[in-house]
Symmetry: C2
Subunit: 352 residues, 2 copies
């Protein structure tokens, strides 16, 4: 059901005709072209002229009209951002970074949470109506048909945390293979042998790749095994429930790698507060994301740090670069492990 | 320094002319007016015609042009949202709610983080260029001159968490007087007598009002006093440092009311982990916001719950209602206290 509400302004019919660029030019004693150049990013205009124009514009309350200009340039200086996921604080950090960094480059963000139909395609179609200069999709992806519409309209698509596959889209991802392998190595070095790996949505490609790499590294070690590989476990409450169930079985896991920090913190509280299990002595817990909660004193969580700044910078580069990115070659940024107190530390003998 | 980067599309010059509404009308076998009505929110069109138009539009890859239409209607169906603060998770919850709820009503959000100049006025001026239908300012406010520009342009301003004062703007606030009084009452009933109140930015009006009400309620009790009223204490690390300092003095506070959950969690970790103080027996701690961290098992923080949903709904109502809101009368929504484990509970004798 669509609302019939329309914004009414302060007083209906009270809006005065806006001042024109001609009036600004007259008051400033410059040409209309000088006014136009003053308000066009990257256009050349002397500082003295610019000052005169800005003073006159302020006196008259003049606003240059990006919208009218976009009819000529076909550029709105708007970038569409579609949030496919909100629950991990990692994604709001990302949203803030995009907004601030694009703003510095004279672009503004139109923010959508998937589409009016609950899907991504509707959101992309809506953004095309606004003549956006490009679209960033965070942890979601459009269908092939709408991706072709974007290509036809000359609007670039950038997928964050998703590989493009057959889509014509740029792609920025963290190195999931390396993350899976590094966490397995950390747990093996700590002497843990009965491992569990849990995540939320089973269809997320990054989780599938990470899990596969984790299992491969454990199998290669020949002295540990993966007891549990479970999906549908995401968030604090789910993590806390999961550990209580998992510890009823035999053999019990002695290490749990979660796909979010909050899941891991739920596992920690379940293990310590509900079951009285000592972490990291009897159980190791690893999170994912390195959000603000991971560093809190009561948790001090060992976790995977995603390189947010580099994901943002690489995405903006893919969005605005002169050269069209190659969909077949995703930009891969490295993640790292933050070692805190929830995995037993074993000194690694230095090599050489 | 402005970047010279311009989005390049996939292949320069490859963009085809977009299909027109005339082509859609021909393929669907309907009038152009029927096409236009199908893509105009709230316009009347039969379901059968709508279906035909949508099918034809999908086949041709037709996008109705919101931007071109806005030249006629002067309405872009864009709402500007200026985030004055990001650090409290409360504000990202709010952002998400605005985006989702406006989207359902066919409005999209342009997100700005203050202005290119670091200020609010620049952000508002930029939004006027995009012909937004209204502007929501979260925890920030514009100057009087730019507010007048908005009024002239018929663009409504809605301040969230700020009173309008002399500005022509709608205002949605939580009841700071009641919050200050209720938290004081809670601590007094718990038998605490040496109280501290800390917050971040000393100029925030909500904090000033809350602190004043808190002190008045404590003074009226005649059996407790406010030992410490300190500003510049915001966030986990600051809270942890603060409690260590505060406990060096004599007399020591036995209750601390913080202006954010994270500050309170820092105080808790400082008290328990660094100083070995028992909470809530020897020290009460109260947070503000009831974000996700407050409910974590290791903290179980007593805190002020801000009515996020009601703040969002009231703001959208003020933005889109037919009737212009009265700047002199802010919409006040009630907050509540979530009693958890960091304040000693004393049963209140039931009245009557």
């Amino acid at each position: 059901v669509r609302s019939r509400a329309q914004p009414a302004g302060w007083r209906r019919g009270a809006a005065r005709a806006s001042p024109t660029s001609r009036e600004v030019a007259e008051l400033a004693g410059v040409s209309r072209s000088a006014v136009s150049r003053t308000f066009t990013p990257d256009a050349s205009v002397s500082e003295r002229t610019r000052r005169k124009v800005l003073d006159a514009a302020a006196k008259l309350g003049y606003q240059p009209d990006v919208i009218a200009r976009s009819l000529i340039t076909r550029r709105s200086r708007l970038v569409g951002l579609i949030m496919g996921e909100w629950d991990n604080p990692f994604y709001t950090t990302m949203l803030r970074g995009f907004s601030e960094k694009l703003q510095v480059r004279d672009y503004q963000v139109i923010l959508l949470t998937r589409g009016p139909d609950g899907g991504v395609d509707g959101a992309v179609r809506l953004l095309l109506q606004y003549r956006v200069d490009g679209i960033v999709l965070v942890s979601c992806e459009p269908g092939a048909a709408v991706a072709r519409d974007c290509e036809r309209a000359g609007v670039r698509l950038v997928l964050v945390n998703r590989e493009a596959g057959a889509l014509r889209a740029a792609s920025i991802v963290a190195d999931s293979i390396r993350i899976g392998r590094d966490v397995a190595d950390l747990l093996l070095r700590g002497g843990y042998e009965r491992l569990a790996i849990v995540r939320g949505d089973p269809s997320l490609p990054t989780g599938i790749v990470r899990t596969r790499a984790f299992k491969a590294a454990v199998a290669a070690s020949k002295r540990a095994r993966v007891l549990i590989d479970q999906t549908g476990v995401l968030g604090y409450a789910a993590g806390r429930r999961f550990v209580i169930e998992a510890m009823k079985g035999e053999p019990r896991p002695d290490a749990i790698f979660c796909s979010s920090d909050l899941t891991a913190i739920g596992v920690l509280d379940g293990a310590r507060l509900d079951l009285g299990i000592a972490v990291p002595e009897a159980l190791a817990v690893v999170g994912f994301g390195d959000g603000p909660a991971a560093a809190l004193g009561a948790y001090d969580l060992t976790t995977v740090r995603l390189p947010v700044e580099r994901l943002i910078d690489a995405s903006i580069e893919a969005l605005l670069s002169e050269q069209a990115p190659d969909p077949a070659r995703p930009v891969v940024v490295e993640a790292g492990i933050v070692q805190r107190a929830t995995v037993r530390l074993v000194r690694v003998p230095s090599r050489g």
